[in-house]
Amino acid sequence: MSETIKVSPWLDSSHKPYIQIQNVTKRFGEFTAIDNLTLDIYKNEFFSLLGPSGCGKTTLLRMLAGFEKITNGKILLDGEDISEIPPHLRPINMMFQSYALFPHMTVEKNIAFGLKQDNLPANEINQRVEEMLELVELTDFANRKPNQLSGGQSQRVALARSLAKRPKLLLLDEPLGALDKRLREQTQFELMDIQEKLEVTFVIVTHDQEEAMTVSSRIGVMDSGNLVQVATPAEIYEAPINKDVADFIGDVNILKGIYKGQNEVGTQLFSEDSNSIVFATQEVGASVEDEMWFAIRPEKLEISKVAPSHDHNILKGTIEDIAYGGSFSTYHVKLDNGRILKAIRANRERTKEHHLTWDDEVYLQWAPHSAVVLLS
């Protein structure tokens, strides 16, 4: 059941991880694609590997599938070492970025292909193929060839084919990359539904941070061959571990601060941008005069023309640009020292009652718990 996910097995040491990637290194000649990476993934998770291109996420996925040999370390699936098992003997299936549908076979035959390799009886194959076609709502397309399908339909055939064998683990390589935005959003929900219905563990590779946030139980953010942070989407967004993660996931304003010690509110930092002390509730271990950063998401910056009654956590500037996004507007506010910050304001009123417009002098303020203090 997906209940196991709701109780966050990664926080409970009595849960045994389903996939254990232990000190895995992969080198291509001189180049190290994966550098001593260790990661546990639990049963029924929807785990995303997220990172810029070339960070090694696809290599890691291909090692799970068995297409790349591990240089060092090992991978366990359900307690069994699978490092040396060739791809065709692993109880793992993969959905390819290009979908890789066999062009000379019909949709039906494509889905049945994996089952036939297991020499299942014909009636069982037919039954499972039908189930799969129903699952992805392509029953009417059973006899089409792949070149007679649209992008969205091909994507669903590829998904059905990789799920037909009921794998212990399904790997998805940029599964929605080729779809347009609207279809992608719809398919994200379908993927989540299917994952919950079939209780399969999903590992997905994506460079689309919105997609990772929407679908995942946890996200592993990768950079240059290693994991930078592994956490739930909300944790990654609200408590990034460093500037890179904060910057990679969503929009963020990162400001420099000089550590001035702790008080009853929390951490005190001196900000050159506001030329005053700013407070953050988060406590950090550092010594006075250390340089660090604090990150504030645009939607947590309150923008107003009226000067606040208190005197901390305030930045003053002028509106340089306004991006109207329908449900919200993004304001680019230029500080006196020339830095530009982003602030988002929900457009709750239909009229322009708040009268924020270009070149207005505005105050940006935020609550002490809204900023994240970052040491690196």
């Binding site: 599938a65 297409f67 060739p86 791809p87 065709h88 003997l89 793992i92 299936n93 993969m94 390819f96 970025q97 290009s98 979908y99 890789a100 549908l101 066999f102 062009p103 000379h104 292909f113 994996g114 390799q117 297991d118 792949p146 070149n147 649209s150 992008g151 091909s154 084919r161 990789s162 064998k165 080729a178």
Partner: protein, 267 residues
């Protein structure tokens, strides 16, 4: 329409006449009643009937077909393997040299190929006959197959192979169930190409044949030396027909294969 301007039509006619008038004449005169090759004596198919009586030509035709069939079949197997390997290995040091060496026989003068194979057979003391002609034909036609297969493989999505392995298919079955069916049109057109090449080769066959292994082109060539007869026209017309059929089939298969390749996956 500008496209069919008078100059364009004129060039078209001149160009095609230049290419095809000799062959058209040959075909026309094969249906000539008269024994004189250059004088039209009315329509007749009697020379085709006479062909059937000519044991020499029939023997030569049989030899040619056997050689063409076996050489193209073996060349197709070897050429396909070569084409596959060249794409599978990707980029390695000396790749250009290797692929260049596969293509070299295409531009090598036939006389050289013929002479060098002959020298080798003499050195190895192999009796010349159908076997040696077949071997020689394999060496020059397999490169054509390799080229055709390699160009098909360059647009082959490797994830198809990986997908089959991923679904539990053994590497060998993956080749027979996925890779081969997908590249089959290229393999067949490679076979047809080497079949026609073998069919009309004169130079290499002359060097490498022995007693009892006279091929049809050799037979025609030796008959012409005694004077051109309508019989030769008839047998040549048949040869033209077979070759044309082979080339057209090969190109049709090639076209169909292009249409079958999935529309760009990104649509």
């Amino acid at each position: 329409m500008k496209k069919f301007g008078s100059f364009n039509i004129f060039s078209l006619i001149v160009g095609f006449s230049f290419l095809y008038i000799p062959i058209i004449l040959l075909i026309l005169f094969s249906f000539n009643e008269s024994r004189l090759v250059t004088v039209w004596g009315g329509f007749s198919t009697k020379w085709y009937g006479e062909l059937l009586q000519n044991q020499g030509i029939k023997d030569a035709a049989w030899v040619t077909i056997k050689v063409a069939f076996f050489s193209s079949t073996i060349a197709t197997i070897l050429g396909t393997i070569a084409g596959l390997v060249m794409t599978r290995f990707g980029n390695f040091k000396g790749r250009t040299l290797f692929s260049g060496m596969i293509y070299a026989p295409m531009v090598m003068p036939e006389v050289i190929i013929g002479l060098s194979t002959l020298l080798m057979f003499v050195a190895l003391a192999i009796d010349r006959g159908i076997f040696t002609v077949t071997l020689a034909h394999i060496t020059f036609s397999m490169c054509y197959v390799a080229v055709v297969v390699q160009s098909r493989m360059s647009s082959y999505d490797d994830s198809l192979t990986e997908a089959a392995l991923d679904l539990g298919c053994t590497p060998f079955r993956t080749f027979t169930l996925i890779t081969l069916p997908i590249i089959l049109p290229a393999v067949i057109s490679g076979w047809l190409l080497s079949f026609t090449l073998s069919l009309d080769d004169l130079v290499i066959a002359s060097f490498t044949s022995g007693p009892g292994s006279t091929t049809l082109p050799m037979k025609i060539y030796s008959m012409v030396r005694l004077g051109v007869t309508p019989e030769i026209n008839a047998v040549s017309t048949i040869l033209v027909g077979v070759v044309t059929l082979g080339v057209i089939t090969a190109s049709l298969i090639g076209r169909r294969q292009k249409q079958q390749t999935p529309k760009a996956q990104h649509t």
